[in-house]
């Protein structure tokens, strides 16, 4: 999240992802419904929902599940990470 601030001495995961994407020319796509639910909005969405701030780091774009379906179909490898939240 563009508005998240990591404590000193802790790694900034968002910056690491942004850096990885920039170095290798990767698409960094967030599921739009998951993002909105968590308060992550880009310019378009903050305008649409009349929120005052953009909270998505500019390295990331918001996309629909269709993009996941399409990317999965084209991929030779797919990695997901488990989570309890």
């Amino acid at each position: 999240m563009a508005t998240a601030v990591s404590p000193q001495g802790e790694i900034d995961t968002v910056e690491l992802w942004a850096d990885l994407g920039a170095r290798h020319g990767l698409d960094l796509v967030l599921c739009i419904s998951s993002a909105l639910r968590r308060g992550l909005l880009d310019a378009t969405e903050s305008e649409r929902y009349e929120r005052q701030a953009q909270t998505v780091h500019p390295a990331f774009t918001l996309g629909g599940l269709g993009q996941l379906v399409d990317a999965t179909a084209q991929a030779d490898r797919l990695i997901t990470f488990g989570s309890s939240t």
Partner: protein
């Protein structure tokens, strides 16, 4: 002919409290809408999603069971279910929705190896 890659969606969390189970179902529905209905496996705590007569009104969300019931409309007809988890939670096979297939550990491992991709939730 281009072979369509097969996808197994594994859902292993309880239906309410987190949004993961809902995210898994949304993904299944999206894939089905693109004519790529995936295989669905309920593993561990995920079997709790299959309990009948869910009433989610008090927690202010839509009933997960209701969405599950709509799966056959999207050509998702087979639900694979973790046998050990059913036993752990005391859920009988009679309580499961139509189209549920109960798998032992060996069957689960075979199911996973038969698919090109596994999406875990």
């Amino acid at each position: 002919m281009i072979r369509v890659s097969s996808v197994l969606v594994v859902t292993r969390h309880a239906p309410y409290g987190t949004s993961l189970s809902r995210a898994a179902l949304d993904t299944v529905l999206a894939a089905a809408a693109f004519d790529r209905p995936p295989t669905l496996l309920f593993l561990g705590d995920g079997v709790l999603q299959l309990l009948p007569d869910q009433d989610a009104a008090a927690v202010g969300t839509r009933s997960h069971g209701r969405v599950l019931e709509s799966l056959p409309l999207y050509d998702v007809n087979t639900l694979f279910v973790d046998s050990a988890a059913l036993a752990q939670y005391g859920i009988s096979r009679a309580q499961l929705p139509a189209g549920a297939t109960v798998l032992e550990d060996q069957g689960i491992s075979q199911l996973m190896s038969e698919h090109d991709h596994i999406l875990g939730f």
